[in-house]
């Protein structure tokens, strides 16, 4: 045992790559997790570079490729990229708003070997959904896309981000996902950074609303067991311990931005002083093993107290670095969600802002996420 502690642990192989193929998107969801500073079209990686990235990722041990954005369908080479992922043995998942996908294109994607589609919905009510997305007709279009996904036989996951304007229908969205033919549904309460932070006042529900929605979704999980898998991301403000953010920093996944920067998590750029490497200059395995950003919070050596001497340090890895930074000023601190953190009262203060929310006040105007893209002609 002692001998093992002195041997440097080799970096484990990555399991997933999240490829933000573009930041362009026809929708403008006010909770979008893309950064406020979006990557422009002009600087996007070209097809050949993306192919190299996926080849290198697969060779390094990556199993799942998540093609995301923005709206990945805004890339004309999407089918070609999917075919390449298939060729190098990656399990390929398309994370889409559905806008820009036609029936024909869905067939092409299926033929290219796409394994799974994750379709976002904004609400279970058409008008509200379109208002949240900032795009008229989005809701109707998504119903078509779900049909086309089923038609080609690709398994479908529906995901919904929950906030004040749709929280009354959190449970309804589970049922709606079943109606759309999904095998899996993700109900995720808004996490307040990036665009969601800018829109927090309009988005944040009351604690009573959260409790009710969480209970309803949990009840439906039982009702639909064996029919649909419910993945539920509830707000963690009331938890005793933080979640293992990203399954550990630099342990499982890497995130590539449209311009080629490689991040340990998609919010990592909010942490100042981290040096990110770019796939234009380095190979994926080189970045994974050696880039300063990945090594900054890998493993447990960087930790401060109370994490450093805590038996849970290799279970939750001290929680989320971005949250630690945002609430304590130092990314090396324990995630203040943890009740052992000396900054835990900050979390209580945020949880209290839930209680101040007056649910009868309509959500104010959103600051819609920008960098819109033209929808290709149908």
């Amino acid at each position: 045992m002692n001998a093992r502690e002195t041997t440097p642990t080799p970096v484990p192989a990555p399991v997933g790559i999240l490829a933000e193929l573009t930041h362009r998107c026809p929708l403008g969801c006010p909770y979008c997790s893309n950064p406020i500073e979006l990557d422009s079209r002009a600087g996007e990686l070209d097809t050949e570079t993306w192919k190299r990235v996926f080849s290198e990722a697969a060779a390094a041990g990556v199993l799942h490729a998540h093609l995301s954005g923005g709206e990945p369908a805004a890339r004309r080479d999407l089918v070609e990229i999917v075919a390449h992922c298939k060729k190098v043995g990656l399990y390929t998942n398309l994370i889409t708003s559905g806008i820009g996908i036609t029936r024909e294109r869905m067939r092409e994607l299926a033929e290219a070997g796409l394994d799974h589609v994750q379709l976002s919905i904004q609400d279970a009510l058409p008008e509200s959904a379109d208002r949240i997305a900032g795009y008229k007709g989005a809701f109707a279009r998504k119903i078509d896309v779900a049909k086309w996904v089923n038609e080609v036989g690709i398994p479908l996951t529906v995901n919904a981000v929950i906030h004040r304007a749709n929280i009354a229908r959190a449970g309804r969205m589970v049922e709606f996902a079943v109606e759309l033919g999904a095998r899996r549904v993700e109900i995720a309460h808004t996490q307040y950074y990036a665009w969601a932070l800018a829109n927090r006042k309009a988005l944040m529900p009351s604690r009573a609303q959260v409790d009710k929605a969480v209970a309803e979704v949990e009840r439906l999980r039982e009702v639909y067991a064996g029919k649909i898998v419910v993945d539920h991301v509830a707000p963690d403000y009331y938890a005793k311990y933080p979640k293992a953010c990203m399954g550990g920093w630099g342990k499982r996944t890497l995130n590539v931005t449209p311009h080629g920067r490689v991040l340990p998590c998609h919010a990592a750029e909010t942490i100042p002083g981290l040096e990110f490497w770019n796939v234009r200059e380095h190979s994926v395995p080189d970045i994974w093993a050696n880039s300063p950003a990945f090594n900054a919070y890998r493993g447990t050596d960087w930790m401060l107290e109370p994490c450093r001497s805590c038996p849970r340090k290799s279970i939750d890895f001290g929680g989320c670095r971005c949250q630690a930074l945002a609430l304590t000023g130092d990314a090396r601190n324990a995630d203040p969600i943890c009740h052992l953190s000396p900054y835990h009262d900050k979390v209580a203060a945020i949880a209290a802002t839930f209680d101040e929310v007056d649910a009868n006040v309509p959500a104010s105007d959103y600051i819609y996420r920008t960098l819109k893209t033209q929808v290709p002609a149908q």
Binding site: H64, Y91, D115, P155
Partner: protein, 95 residues
């Protein structure tokens, strides 16, 4: 919900589209890949899953395994039903 006993002898289990059994060269092990999920599969599970082709019935799969591994049929049947029941609940196997 779907207990092991619920699987009938003539159901024809198969891996749905979007679920793959893959030998991972980097880690030197068999994995069952599904959306957002990676399950490590032991040698027995691999033998069971390889036979889930949507053509063979459950009882044929059990017979085949019992013959190949010279094991007691009842025991194999329990193993197969337990595994497939668990995977079906996760929607990683269609029965």
């Amino acid at each position: 919900m779907s207990g092991a006993a619920a699987i009938s002898a003539d159901s024809k289990p198969r891996l749905p589209r979007g679920v793959h059994l893959k030998h991972d060269e980097t880690r030197g092990e068999w994995l069952l890949l599904a959306p957002e999920r990676v399950l490590k599969t032991n040698a027995i599970a691999v033998e069971i899953l390889k036979r889930c082709d949507g053509i063979a019935t459950l009882s044929e799969i059990v017979d085949d395994l019992a013959a190949q591994f010279k094991a007691e049929r009842a025991q194999i049947e329990t193993d197969v039903k337990t595994l497939l029941g668990e995977l079906a609940a996760k929607r990683m196997v269609d029965l």
